[in-house]
């Protein structure tokens, strides 16, 4: 029941987020606004306990949720055949670059803090 109540909170916040995003033409997608709204109301224990139960379940199976879109790769086989190698090289290199910059920056900040 806690989990279900938490899910209702998530959906309610997402719906509110969608309304605000579309209604006010905000640059954020609905779920992102929903996340910020939820963050604001997590102060309340009434919200916190059910949301914790549901969020932990949903986030621990996060990778499953990417599978349906991932399978969509098969609809772009033409583009992939033509540019696949180049796309892959770009994705791999830029991902490594992003990982390296982020991790080194954090290490640098830590060094500064300790010094």
């Amino acid at each position: 029941m806690q989990g279900l109540r938490g899910f209702a909170w998530l959906l309610a916040m997402q719906s509110l987020g969608e309304l605000l995003s579309r209604g006010l033409n905000l640059p954020f997608p609905g779920p992102v606004i929903g996340m910020m709204l939820l963050l604001a109301v997590l102060q309340l224990p009434v919200v916190r306990e059910p949301v914790a139960a549901c969020a932990n379940f949903l986030l621990s199976h996060l990778s499953l949720l990417f599978v349906p879109v991932g399978v969509g790769v098969m609809t772009h086989l033409g583009l992939l055949g033509q540019y696949g190698l180049r796309m892959m090289a770009v994705i791999v290199l830029s991902t490594w670059f992003g990982l390296v910059i982020t991790v080194l920056l954090l290490r640098a900040f830590r060094g500064q803090r300790d010094a």
Binding site: F28, F66, I91
Partner: protein
């Protein structure tokens, strides 16, 4: 046999097929992954996608038919993004304490991943709409689709790029961080997780979560921060230039 063919035609066309196939294949991939001590190359998303795409190709079921069932899983991405408020809230003390370091790393790390993808994509001569679809690749798939749509990319392609990016991060993070001699103490795990969440979103975060709790929490945090930053900054950057 025609009876069997008839039954298959019926089953493969109902949403039940896409939903069941996705869940069963993923549960199996997850079991294999656990059996192999969570080796990075055995990534359950990667193998589920490969298995399902092959299955659909062999059986001749087209993607829209598959998706009519799989959409029920896909739908949960929205609530999952909302649920990211939870890891953020849980780490609010660390967030308040180190917000300048975390924010700088998120802005510059996100910029490095997105900017280098645009630059490299342009340099190797990819079509413009494909290059634009690369911009939000470090953001979780549903948000990446929205951003791509706003800046003139192809949403479906952006989602695929995001998924591939996540898998690349999940597969290579360990080796890369090892080469950079990032330690495996609490601080080191936090930095590793945060980097994975920043550059490889939910799939990187899922991997981090399985390896270390601190890494997982900071990956969730980074993923949330990246979602907010990217949906604000990427369209803004394209609007300005």
């Amino acid at each position: 046999m025609p009876k069997f063919v008839e039954l298959w035609v019926y089953l493969s066309a109902t949403p039940l097929f896409g939903l069941t196939a996705t869940l069963v294949v993923y549960v199996l991939a997850q079991a294999v992954y656990a059996r192999l001590n969570q080796a990075a190359w055995a990534n359950p998303v990667l193998w589920s996608v490969v298995t399902l795409a092959s299955l659909l190709t062999v059986t001749g079921v087209d993607y829209p038919t598959y998706f009519s069932g799989a959409q029920f899983i896909h739908f949960l991405l929205g609530p999952a993004v909302v649920a990211l408020a939870w890891p953020l809230w849980e780490r609010r003390v660390a967030l308040r304490q180190h917000w300048h370091a975390l924010l700088t790393a998120a802005v510059l790390g996100g910029f490095a991943a997105s900017g280098s993808a645009l630059l490299l994509g342009w340099a190797v001569g990819l079509p413009v709409d494909v290059v634009l679809s690369l911009a939000p690749k470090s953001v979780t798939a549903p948000v990446a689709m929205g951003i791509a749509d706003k800046i003139g990319g192809i949403p479906a392609l952006a989602a695929v790029f995001a998924v591939v990016t996540g898998m690349v991060g999940a597969l290579s993070g360990k080796v890369l961080f090892g080469l950079l001699k990032i330690p495996t103490d609490k601080d080191g795990w936090m930095a590793r997780g945060y980097a994975l969440g920043t550059a490889a979103h939910g799939i990187g975060a899922a991997r981090a979560l399985q390896v270390n709790a601190d890494a997982g929490a900071f990956a969730g945090l980074a993923l949330g921060v990246q979602v907010v930053l990217a949906s604000l900054l990427i369209p803004l950057a394209f609007h300005l230039f």
